[in-house]
Symmetry: C2
Subunit: 349 residues, 2 copies
Amino acid sequence: MVCQYSGDRMPDQKKVTIKDVARETGLALSTVSNALAGKSMVRPETRAIVMEAADRLGYRASIVARSLRAQRSFALGVLIEDVANPSSSAFVRGVEDVANAAGCTILLADTDGSLERQVDAMRALIDRRVDGLVLISQHLEDERVREMLRGGPPVVLLQRRDPVLDLDYVGSDNVGGVKEAMHFVGRLGHSRVGFVTGPLGSSSARERLQTYRETAEELGFRETEELIYHGRYSFDVGLEAANFFAGLREPPTCIFASNDMNAIGLIQGLSERGLSVPKDISVVGLDDIALARIKALDLTTIRLEKRAMGEEAARLVLRRVAAPQRPTACVILPTRLIVRGTTAQPRAD
Amino acid sequence: MVCQYSGDRMPDQKKVTIKDVARETGLALSTVSNALAGKSMVRPETRAIVMEAADRLGYRASIVARSLRAQRSFALGVLIEDVANPSSSAFVRGVEDVANAAGCTILLADTDGSLERQVDAMRALIDRRVDGLVLISQHLEDERVREMLRGGPPVVLLQRRDPVLDLDYVGSDNVGGVKEAMHFVGRLGHSRVGFVTGPLGSSSARERLQTYRETAEELGFRETEELIYHGRYSFDVGLEAANFFAGLREPPTCIFASNDMNAIGLIQGLSERGLSVPKDISVVGLDDIALARIKALDLTTIRLEKRAMGEEAARLVLRRVAAPQRPTACVILPTRLIVRGTTAQPRAD
DNA sequence: TTGTACGCGTTATCAC
DNA sequence: GTGATAACGCGTACAA
């Protein structure tokens, strides 16, 4: 439904520049510039005149021009798979808050996990001369990407580690998180524990899988290799995984999902196969999305501090903008096991 | 946990400009520029030489410089309350997709519903000379805001209508959506229907409330004024509203929530008060967020095409950038009632 | 067809 | 303290 009606719009007035302020006050451009910048050399009275005129004319300095001159755009590029995905948007918020506080704006780009879109987006951002780039769960293997990683603006990697270049990195304590949760379910009495992996291109997913294997061995869990389902971070993969596990001769008594959305799909899928959570099978998620705490879900999960991770990433990249040569830093944020209602003791059969 | 290790970084190489390409090829700047722009005047062989050199040198035109020159930044500003909120992030995705397709980037800013943050963000975006602004559910009454609405770049309003200025507007068919759902529950047999409003500063919330009143009267619903709870779009307000409705001498048999998150809180709150959905009370949401369809929620809701709305908004603003004087347009996207499991016939007491 | 010169808005440098 | 001028990188009107 589209309705149109003509309106009266003003003849798009031209932008007022510093030149206009100079003309208005009868001062020189440079004096006005200095006054506006609050330089100490300018006489207070002169400064007052300038400020008044600038205000009256509605003058606002063009960041475009300033960027050209300063060779710095005061903007950060952020690449993410999908802002509309609840398990990733919190990162963006974190980056944004810190960036804004530092006078920077963020340029956002969604890649949908597509390498081509990522390459295009990175190029576009670099063409815009962003001061820094925050890459959230992005591809790192492609040669075009690596080229930009090497020759482009400062980069911070979020949730994915570069195998070669030592770049600033922000991640979560995958090892500690999985280990803590494994011990927890172990104490509950579980010893047949399934595991849904994330995409193994991601270093985080690999770390978690490895920790699962190691801890399972340490705790003496059984048949761990048979209980691994190679998945991704999605609800639908949760449904698939449920079918896989439910179809086993002897299903596990507990399953680690790849993330919360995956866990939710898993729980629904199990229920469709007549298995109840946590009575028949316990489920552990990862993320702690906002909805995980509602009673209808009540999901036991490993909390990731995504917003804080975003903040940390922004801090690192801004720091490197200020000092390009500083040694690489990596920040690992702690995780926390949030015990809710999807975990219980295994059935005593 | 922070670990640092020194790394070898290259001495941040200088950006290669069009000048470098000119020097490299021995041609004039303008020739290179024309060749790069694909102007027909340039001889194909010359063009080939230029392209090769540009490619070899890794030349990429600076959009900053281009923006200054063109008086146009090829960027769109997007203001939203909170990207991390699942009921609003889809808008951003829509805007972004269309913007990108048109060669534009988006600058994102979260306001958390705070007027001050909105004013700051709008200023920052305008200082960056964005070509257009997409305002999603933002304040419109403040004089500083109105000033920018009048004198700033082209603006599209999403989900909030300006009472005075006729600005491009994208909304959803609130009237049709609420009416359809009201008739639906009416046919189920409900006649005491509660209603949780959104913040009434929003024109959408007001439209829905008014439609509720009109349709309730039309259908002969009872005590409608007593069954209105003034709320906002949040889970917590859902809990509060549940207490309000459950505490009534005679609670309604059906409740319209302000949105899906609100509905989820409402359902949980009702359940805590011993009321079961939909057995005792039916609930209708608004949005159709991704999780609404999971079995654990199975929420009957009025679907809003948020992504499409974002796309439409981007189209409108880009169109106005191209033709500032065109008549104002308003696009109303249809809504659709998605019937799931939270609605049923009222108890036959 | 190619080259020269200028402007976009700002800030830094250097005379006055 | 204030003012003139150059430079940032690109596009384009105009001259050759």
